[in-house]
C-alpha cells in the first residue's frame, strides 16, 4: 500500500498559499467597497474594454453636448426674443401706418407722428444690435462688433458658426442680421420711408410705405421662424441628450460600478472562510502521532 506522506514544510506552504488566495480576493473586494469601482486594471475586464471605453466616451461627449446645448439655447432664445420684439414694433408701425393712411387724420397729425416712426426705427436698431454675453446676436460670425451702424448698414458677417449638440448634429448658433433685417426688404429703410411719408403729411405716401412695412414684418416673422426651427432642434437634442444621459448612467453603473450588496456579502462570506481556514490549518498542523507517545 502506498503511504501518503504529509511533509510539514510542504503542508505549511500549501496552507499559506490557500490563505493567500482568500486574502487576495478579500483585498480586491475591499478596494471595490472603498472605491465603488469594479475594475481599475485592464486585465480585470479583459474583453470588455471596447464596451467600457465606448460607454465612458459617449458619457463624456454627452456632457460636452449638454454644456453646448445650454449655451446655444440661451443664444437662440435671445435671438427669438429680439426678433419677436422687432415684429411687435413693426406691427405697431403698421397699425400706425393704417391709421395715418386713412382720412381720419389730418396732414398735421401725420407730420406730428413722424417722430414716433423715428423712435420705432431706433427701437428696432437697438433690438438688431442686442448682445448676449458680449456677443452681438445678429452679427453672424463677426459677433465681437456691432451688427448694424446707426445708418442701418450691416457690419456683421455671414453666420457659419455651428455648435455640436450631438454625435452627428451641429446647429447654427448665430443669425445673419443682414438676412433677418435686410433680406428682401430692408427693415430700417421701410421705417425710414414710413417716417419720410409721415413727415410729408401725405396720406397716399403713408399708404405706399405700408407695403414695405408689411414686407418687413413678414421677413422678420420668417427669420423668427427659422430661429424657432433651430430652437426646436436644440430642444429635441436636449430631450434626446437627457434620455441618453440617464440610459448611459444606468449602463455605466451596471457595467463599471461595484454593487455594494454583492461586495459586502462576498466579503462577509470570505471572512468566515478565512477564519475557518485558519482554524483548520492550525488543527491539521498541530495533531501528530508524537503527541500520543509516552
Amino acid at each position: 500500500m502506498e503511504i501518503i506522506r504529509r511533509n510539514p514544510l510542504v503542508a505549511s506552504q500549501r496552507a499559506a498559499e490557500a490563505l493567500g488566495r482568500i486574502r487576495s480576493r478579500m483585498s480586491t473586494l475591499e478596494e471595490q467597497a472603498t472605491s465603488g469601482v469594479k475594475f481599475d486594471k485592464p486585465s480585470e475586464a479583459a474583453g470588455e474594454w471596447t464596451a467600457i471605453h465606448a460607454l465612458r466616451a459617449t458619457r463624456a461627449d454627452q456632457d460636452v453636448y449638454d454644456r453646448n446645448i445650454s449655451r446655444i439655447r440661451d443664444m437662440i432664445d435671445a435671438q427669438d426674443t429680439a426678433l419677436g420684439s422687432t415684429a411687435t414694433v413693426i406691427k405697431r408701425a403698421i397699425e400706425r401706418a393704417v391709421q395715418m393712411g386713412s382720412g381720419t387724420y389730418s396732414d398735421a397729425d401725420r407730420i406730428r407722428t413722424a417722430g414716433e416712426a423715428a423712435q420705432l426705427r431706433e427701437e428696432i436698431l437697438a433690438l438688431a444690435n442686442s448682445r448676449l454675453d458680449g456677443k452681438a446676436i445678429f452679427a453672424g460670425d463677426a459677433w465681437d462688433g456691432v451688427a448694424f451702424d446707426p445708418a442701418g448698414v450691416y457690419q456683421g458677417a455671414a453666420a457659419t458658426s455651428k455648435v455640436q449638440v450631438a454625435q452627428d448634429q451641429s446647429i447654427q448658433m448665430m443669425t445673419d442680421g443682414s438676412a433677418a433685417f435686410q433680406g428682401t426688404t430692408d427693415v430700417f429703410q421701410a421705417l425710414s420711408d414710413f417716417e419720410t411719408a409721415l413727415a410729408s403729411g401725405s396720406a397716399a405716401a403713408v399708404q405706399t410705405s405700408l407695403g414695405s412695412l408689411q414686407g418687413a414684418y413678414r421677413q422678420v416673422v420668417e427669420a423668427r421662424q427659422e430661429v424657432g426651427f433651430r430652437q426646436m432642434r436644440v430642444m429635441d437634442a436636449e430631450v434626446i441628450g437627457d434620455s441618453l444621459s440617464g440610459l448611459l448612467d444606468e449602463r455605466i453603473a451596471a457595467t463599471l460600478e461595484a454593487d455594494p450588496i454583492d461586495v459586502f456579502t462576498e466579503l462577509s462570506a470570505l471572512r468566515t472562510s478565512y477564519e475557518a481556514a485558519l482554524q483548520v490549518t492550525a488543527a491539521s498542523s498541530g495533531a501528530k502521532l508524537f503527541d500520543f507517545l509516552r
Binding site: R5, P8, L9, V10, Q13, A46, G47, S161, L289
Partner: protein, 457 residues
C-alpha cells in the same frame, strides 16, 4: 554456535535499531528543512555462519547503507513545473505592474485623456474665440500628452527594469552552475567512501533554484553526478560548468547565450524560469510601447496637418500643435507645441472673425478619422487597452495554472521524498521495540552465561 555468538548476534540487532533511531532522528529534525530528502535505513540479514556440527545459523542483522528517498523522474517534474511557474510568475508580475499605467480607478486613463482633448474641441464650437474655451483646449491637450507621456515613460522604465533584473540574474546563475559542478565532483569522489546524501540534497536544491531562475532539467548519471540541461544544452556536465550570459543591445532585444566550445549558442527562445518570464514580459512591453509610439506619432502627424490648414486668432497660419522627439520613443516625449491660446488655429480663413471655426471642425474630425490602421485614435487606444488586458490576463491565467502544476508536482515529489512526522513516529516506535528486543536477547544470553558460570563455581 556458542552463547558468545548469540551475544554478538544480539549486538548486531542493537546496532541496527540504534542506527534506525538515528536515521529517524535525522528525518524528524529536518522535517521542515528545505531540500531535505527523507533518509531510509537499508538493512539485511548477515551471512549465516556454519557451526562445528555443520549447521548454518543466522548471524544477526547488518546495516547496508543509509539511503536517500530520491526519485529522478519526480525531481524532473518539479524542475519542469518550477521553471514554467517561475517564467509565468515573472511575466505576470511585470505585466500586472505595467498594466496599471493604462487605467486608473477614477476612469482617467489613456482613452479618457484622448477623448477629453477632442471633447474640449467640441466644447469650443460654442464659442471658438472665447479665451476660456481655448484655454480648456490647451489644458486638455496638455493632459492628453501628459498621460501618453506618463504611459510611454512608464513602459520604457518597465523595459529598462526588466533588463536590469535580467542582467542581475547571471552572476547568481553562473555561481550556481559552478557550485553544482563542484558538488558533482565531491559526490563522485565520496561515492566510494560513503553515501553522499547531504551533498546530493544540496545539489538538487541548487538545481531546483536554477530551474526557477532559468528553467532546467537534470539527468542523474551512474557515478551520482547530475547533468544539468538548460535550453537544450548541458550547462553542467560531470564536473564542468558552462557560462550563461545576457547580451544587451540598444536596437535589439536581449539575447541569452551559453558558452559552447570556443563560441556561444543562442538559447533565448528556449529558456524558462524567471529569465524566460522577463524575456517574455519585455517582448510584450515592447509591443505595447510600439503601439503607443504609433499612437503618439499618429496624433502628432494628423493633428499637426489639420492644425496647419487653419488660421490663428491673430490671422497667421497654424503651426505645429504637438511635438515628439526626433529619436527614441514618441510616446515618452510627446508634448503640446503651443502655449498661447491665440495660436490655436480654429479659423478656416484669415478673416479674424471670432465665429470662424471652419478649421475647428476639421480638428474635431481628426478624432474620428481612420488614421491608425484604419482606426481612430480612440478606437486604436481601446484596442491597445484590450491588448494590454488580454496579454496580462493570459499570463495571469498561465501563472495560476503553472503554480497549481508546480504545487502538484511538489506535492507528489514530497509524498515520495518528504518526511512525514507520523510515519517517523511509527518508525521510532518500531526501532525502539527492536532495540528493546535485542537488548532482551543479550540479557537472556547473559543470564544463560551466568547460569553456566555458577555451575563452575
Amino acid at each position: 554456535m556458542s552463547l558468545f555468538d548469540n551475544l554478538r548476534t544480539g549486538y548486531t540487532g542493537l546496532r541496527a535499531a540504534s542506527a534506525g533511531i538515528r536515521v529517524t532522528t535525522q528525518n524528524v529534525t529536518n522535517a521542515s528543512t528545505p531540500g531535505f530528502t527523507r533518509r531510509t535505513l537499508e538493512q539485511s540479514v548477515r551471512p549465516p555462519v556454519q557451526t562445528r556440527g555443520g549447521l548454518w545459523v543466522g548471524a544477526g542483522v547488518q546495516v547496508d547503507r543509509i539511503g536517500r528517498a530520491a526519485n529522478p523522474m519526480l525531481f524532473n517534474r518539479v524542475l519542469l513545473s518550477g521553471g514554467r511557474a517561475g517564467m509565468a510568475n515573472a511575466a505576470q508580475g511585470a505585466l500586472s505592474s505595467a498594466e496599471n499605467l493604462f487605467e486608473t480607478t477614477n476612469g482617467m486613463g489613456l482613452r479618457e485623456s484622448i477623448d477629453g482633448f477632442f471633447d474640449s474641441l467640441a466644447s469650443a464650437t460654442a464659442d471658438p474665440g472665447d479665451f476660456g474655451r481655448r484655454q480648456e483646449v490647451l489644458v486638455a491637450a496638455g493632459r492628453m500628452t501628459s498621460t501618453v507621456r506618463t504611459v510611454g515613460q512608464g513602459l520604457n522604465q518597465a523595459i529598462a527594469e526588466e533588463d536590469d533584473a535580467l542582467a542581475a540574474q547571471f552572476d547568481v546563475i553562473n555561481a550556481d552552475l559552478a557550485e553544482v559542478a563542484d558538488l558533482n565532483r565531491q559526490i563522485i569522489e565520496a561515492a566510494g567512501v560513503t553515501t553522499p546524501s547531504d551533498l546530493a540534497d544540496r545539489r538538487d536544491q541548487i538545481i531546483t533554484r536554477l530551474s526557477d531562475k532559468i528553467g532546467a532539467s537534470a539527468h542523474i548519471e551512474a557515478d551520482g553526478s547530475a547533468t544539468v540541461l538548460i535550453g537544450g544544452h548541458a550547462a553542467v556536465s560531470d564536473v564542468t560548468a558552462r557560462t550563461i550570459n545576457a547580451v544587451f543591445s540598444p536596437t535589439a532585444p536581449p539575447q541569452i547565450t551559453i558558452s559552447v566550445g570556443q563560441g556561444v549558442a543562442d538559447i533565448t527562445q528556449e529558456v524558462e524560469g524567471e529569465v524566460g518570464g522577463r524575456i517574455a514580459a519585455r517582448e510584450v512591453l515592447t509591443s505595447w510601447l510600439g503601439d503607443l509610439d504609433a499612437l503618439a506619432t499618429g496624433i502628432r502627424t494628423e493633428m499637426n496637418t489639420r492644425h496647419a490648414a487653419g488660421f490663428t486668432a491673430g490671422g497667421t497660419a497654424g503651426g505645429a500643435l504637438f511635438t515628439t522627439p526626433p529619436t527614441g520613443s514618441s510616446a515618452a516625449g510627446i508634448s503640446v507645441a503651443i502655449t498661447d491660446v491665440d495660436d490655436l488655429a480654429f479659423a478656416s480663413a484669415n478673416t479674424g472673425l471670432p465665429g470662424d471655426q471652419g478649421n475647428l471642425a476639421s480638428l474635431i474630425a481628426g478624432g474620428t478619422a481612420a488614421v491608425l490602421g484604419g482606426k481612430s485614435f480612440g478606437a486604436a487606444t481601446t484596442d491597445l487597452t484590450s491588448l494590454v488586458a488580454s496579454d496580462t490576463r493570459k499570463w495571469q491565467i498561465e501563472s495560476g495554472s503553472a503554480d497549481a502544476a508546480a504545487a502538484d508536482a511538489e506535492q507528489v515529489f514530497s509524498n515520495f521524498t518528504g518526511v512525514d512526522l507520523d510515519q517517523e513516529a511509527v518508525e521510532l516506535v518500531r526501532y525502539q521495540a527492536a532495540f528493546q528486543a535485542a537488548a532482551k536477547v543479550i540479557q537472556v544470553t547473559d543470564d544463560m552465561l551466568g547460569d553456566l558460570m555458577s555451575i563452575i563455581r
